[in-house]
């Protein structure tokens, strides 16, 4: 019986711990167990044999830590490991399988760490190719504590083999991975990627794990794996003792099977004895597989969002359509602006963020990758990837850390041919627009027909209908007053007849009308009543959020009206605060209120006063007589150590708000820049707080900053400097270990023959270091960099 048939028909048993058994046989602390595949072949084969003899079905080959980062002789190690397992198997009959065992690479992926996602995929792929050549029955990806690394491993497995893929992760007592994902999020992502079994191992003992099993079983439609530790290790009289013995372990494994686990075994501290007792006690228990769930669910790296229960709000603001400021941000590669749109929508109550960064004059593929990567560093909401460019779609689905909402497919064959293979490969819930070869049908029946075709076509690709959310299209009533009715009828019949969920880009309904939110929000209420599950909408719209909260309270979707009360009480609080703020505004009136607001770091106030001032005074006068002098006061204070870093940054923030008000008034007579400066945290360094502070201040003082980010290769700095004919480059490094990349960067800049000056800074830098690596200037803090820049461009 092959392994996939086996796991669907009876309880399947994994082996237990390897590392702990090797330690008993003399493996030294910190010694790599995989080396023993060659040096202590007999020991490894003996342990494998003992496990098969104890009744286990699946052996984990001794390859957990085998990757190119640790082993230059990877092929030799993996081949030996699999040979050892095969040797042990040759003596046993029945359903005996060998898993190629993959553990974490031990590196954190970008943006929090320094390992690139594609590099991770390729490191995993190296081992998988060797294992496939050797011949194994399945790939086990185990002890994963990061969803992103897990995704990299699964993709590597899918792209380099046809073997079944099993995945187990490490949950803590709160049922979270160390990087934050809960079981629902992991199951959504992994089922989306098409793995064959999912579950948990390591970290906890069986008694803690038994509580987490239902959380996985209630989400999964595929067999669930549970491989616990023998409790926690303790040192008793100089010996390692685990606090759960084989008897206790096997007793709790009975409960774990009863909770719905179909594949069980052990991890650290467990021995053949644990497996033997577990097999004995569980082999005659009734076998059950998880029911097929038909959930429509997307996920981020922390949590899942289920569609079809309460209405889901998809924030529409990350989209340049009709927004000149957003377009400008895209053209200037101003990611901070875009990220801010994401975070503020989350704060306003969005459940999912739509990401559309398409603009003809920019590289949409690269922008999509950058925005998705950066957004995931600052927001834990699931994303809706919104692009008509299939390459941008594929790239962003690939690097997305979770299971995305895909916007969109339509009823035209070319669209389905492009999108469905991506959904099949990477997983995702896809928005299906009811647009056919002849455009958008005018009737609900016509739209239903297209939805039906799309679903049938998806099913031919092996994509379940629960992965499709139909958008029957809202079109403005200002050109056709029957259009809302058609859309509303479509929602109803599509949900009733096809059993799928629906979504609408709801704002379109009011296009061309005054006070659009009145119409949009009313339509939203009727649509929800007709069964609408998701709305792509503006979470900053007061009318929309009001309707949303009221609807949920009225429809028994808000227990004890808690959410409504919080929301509505907040509204009152806000108006009260506004009044208080106004009073205090008057009380702090000074001769130079703008200057005062900037020095005090009052952002809203500075913005508001500046906006008022530019109506009466020449904007440039406001800049030169108010904003700049205020900044100077704070800057001098910082240099004299009477003002400290947080205050400096708050004032910078306030000055920025004031500048923005001034800019709005200047629109046509663009203010000339003082000069353009490149900033980068050097290769190998992933700490960019210092560099960001410098950036904030330089921008404040009127310099244009090209921020290359962190972990920047020397070549990237040089190329950018050449391309933009840069006069000043600022480099930051935190650790002594990254100063050499700083030196290398300076060397490349010099070799390129530029007359670029280089200013360096960062925790370990000193004047001596700066001189040694050939920098032009050492700035001990952000203000010194500003002063130096003024000198260079002065």
């Amino acid at each position: 019986m092959n392994i996939l048939e086996k796991i669907k028909n009876s309880i399947t048993y994994f082996d237990g711990g390897m590392g702990t058994m090797l330690q008993e046989r003399g493996l030294a602390p910190g010694e790599l167990p995989e080396l023993w595949n060659i040096s202590h072949r007999d020991v490894i084969i003996d342990i494998h044999r003992q496990y098969y003899a104890s009744g286990c079905n699946i052996l984990k080959a001794n390859t957990f830590g085998a990757n190119r980062l640790k082993f230059p002789n990877l092929e030799e190690i993996i081949t030996a490991a699999i040979d050892n397992a095969k040797e042990a198997r040759s003596e046993f009959d029945g359903d005996r399988y060998i898993a190629y065992d993959i553990g974490s690479l031990g590196k954190m992926l970008k943006p929090l760490g320094d390992l690139d996602f594609e590099d991770a995929v390729s490191l995993f792929a190296d081992g998988i190719k060797i294992a496939v050549k050797c011949g194994v029955d399945l790939i086990l990806i185990e002890t994963m504590n990061d969803s992103y690394e897990t995704k990299a491993a699964v993709l590597a497995a899918k792209e380099n083999s046809d073997l079944p893929i099993f995945v187990t992760c490490v949950y803590d007592e709160n049922a979270k991975l160390m990087t934050g994902a809960d079981p629902a999020a992991m199951v959504a992502m992994l089922e989306g990627l098409g793995v064959d079994a999912v579950g948990m191992n390591c970290s906890l003992g069986p008694e803690q794990m038994v509580k987490i099993v239902p959380k996985i079983v209630s989400e999964a439609s595929i067999p669930v794996i549970v491989n616990p530790n023998a409790g926690l290790p303790k040192s008793v009289n100089g010996k390692t003792v685990y606090d759960v013995d084989a008897e206790m372990f096997s007793n709790i494994m009975v409960d774990i099977v009863n909770e719905g686990a179909a594949i069980i075994g052990g991890c650290c501290g467990t021995t053949p004895e644990f497996i033997r007792k577990t097999v004995e006690k569980t082999k005659d228990l009734p076998f059950k597989l998880p029911e097929k769930k038909n959930h429509t669910v997307v996920s981020s790296y922390t949590h899942a969002v289920k569609i079809g229960h309460v209405p889901i709000l998809i924030g529409e603001r990350i989209n340049p359509t009709g927004k000149s400021k957003f377009k400008e941000a895209l053209r200037e590669n101003n990611l901070d602006y875009i990220l801010n749109e994401g975070i503020t929508q989350q704060d306003a109550g969005a459940d999912i963020l739509d990401v559309n960064v398409g603009l003809p004059e920019i590289d949409e593929v690269q922008m999509m990758i950058n925005v998705v990567t950066e957004l995931q560093a600052v927001s834990d909401l699931p994303l809706q990837l919104d692009t008509v460019d299939p390459v941008a779609m594929e790239k962003s689905m690939r690097i997305y850390n979770g299971k995305p909402l895909v916007n969109s497919v339509n009823g035209k064959p070319e669209s389905m041919n492009a999108i469905f293979p991506l959904v099949k490969k990477y997983g995702g819930v896809v928005i299906a627009l009811t647009i056919g070869k002849k455009g958008i049908p005018e009737t609900a029946e016509g739209r239903y027909e297209i939805a039906k075709n799309i679903i049938e076509e998806a099913e031919r690709y092996g994509i379940d209908r629960c992965q499709i959310v139909v958008d029957p299209l809202a079109m403005t009533i200002s050109s056709d007053t029957t259009s809302a009715n058609v859309t509303l009828d479509s929602i109803k019949i599509i949900e009733e007849r096809l059993g799928v969920h629906t979504s609408l880009g709801i704002s379109n309904i009011s296009f061309g009308l005054p006070n659009r939110d009145f119409v949009t929000s009313t339509f939203f209420a009727i649509a929800m009543q007709n069964g609408l599950d998701c709305a792509i909408m503006n979470p900053f719209s007061f009318e929309m959020m009001k309707i949303y909260h009221c609807y949920k309270a009225l429809k028994n979707m808000d227990e004890n009206c808690v959410e409504y009360i919080n929301y509505a009480s907040d509204i009152t609080a806000q108006s009260v605060t506004t009044n208080t703020a106004k009073t205090s505004d008057n009380s702090t009136d000074t001769a130079d209120p703008l200057k005062h607001a900037i020095i005090k770091g009052l952002k809203e106030k500075a913005g508001a006063i500046a906006a008022q001032l530019v109506k009466e005074v020449d904007p440039l006068v406001v800049v030169n007589e108010q904003i700049i002098p205020a900044l100077d006061t704070v800057g001098k204070g910082f240099e004299e150590k009477t003002v400290f870093l947080p205050q400096l940054l708050m004032s910078a923030d306030a000055a920025k708000a004031a500048f923005e008000s001034v800019k709005a008034a200047l629109s046509n007579t663009d203010q000339p820049s003082k000069g353009t400066i490149i900033l980068a945290t050097v290769k190998g360094d992933i700490h960019d707080i210092g560099k960001n502070i410098v950036k904030v201040l330089l921008s404040n003082y009127g310099f244009d900053v090209i921020d290359l980010g962190k972990d920047v290769p020397p070549e990237a700095v040089r190329d950018c400097a050449v391309e933009n004919n840069i006069k000043l480059v600022g480099l930051s490094a935190l650790m002594t270990t990254t100063v050499p990349s700083m030196e290398e960067t300076i060397k490349l800049l010099r070799e390129a023959g530029l007359d670029t000056k280089v200013v360096v800074g960062g925790a370990v830098l000193t004047q001596e270091y700066a001189d040694m690596i050939g920098a032009d200037y050492y700035a001990k803090d952000a203000m010194e960099t500003v002063r130096y820049a003024e000198e260079i461009f002065g």
């Binding site: 910190g30 990061d146 040192s235 600052v378 150590k641 870093l645 947080p646 360094d685 502070i693």
Partner: protein, 223 residues
Amino acid sequence: MSDFTVELKIAEKGEVKTVRDEAVRYLGYKKVTPDENILNLIGECETELLNAVQARVCYARTDIKFLGENVVDIGFGEVHSKNLYKHLQGCHGVILFAATIGIGVDRLIAKYNRIKPVKGVILDALGSSAIEYWCDVAELKITADEEKHCSRFSAGYGDFSLEHQRDFVRCLDVMRKLGITLSDSLLMTPTKSVTAVIGLGGNARTCGNKCMSCNNRNCIYRE
């Protein structure tokens, strides 16, 4: 050699705190109290930070061998370091120690770093104070039964090479136990993590003032 057991402890409620005075010092204030605006912001950050904390520690006791002048084995093989050798003089064993307050803090800092740098800076300082606090709490717990022990000594102190981070990571299995990973340039993620060696017995070298006993005389944080 004696048996080597890596034990793991997860912080209980109240065991991790931010230390405002320390954070304020990291922010560059020298004997000056921040104004009310900043104090309010610090208060806001403290709450957010403590919500994001997931603190753990793992450790193992092991033998110590003095292999020659300035060469010592604490379970890693030969370590060449005058400072470490001196620090551990007379010890009969060591505890290898690793602690973290979790990746959630990094995410929080990264978020504000992009959208509100002042909070990023404050959270960074508060995070540093919190990991130090947690290390102190954990160290006290772990060494409760020891008669005498030295203060924590980390790779990167004096001439104890940062390269030995790799040994801590390997021997304590910190990737699996704490979720700590090492970058190519030997930086730990989560950032607010510490590895250290604690000497047992011996001269029980505890520095009265950690800051002043450091060799880096140019440090801007030096008290």
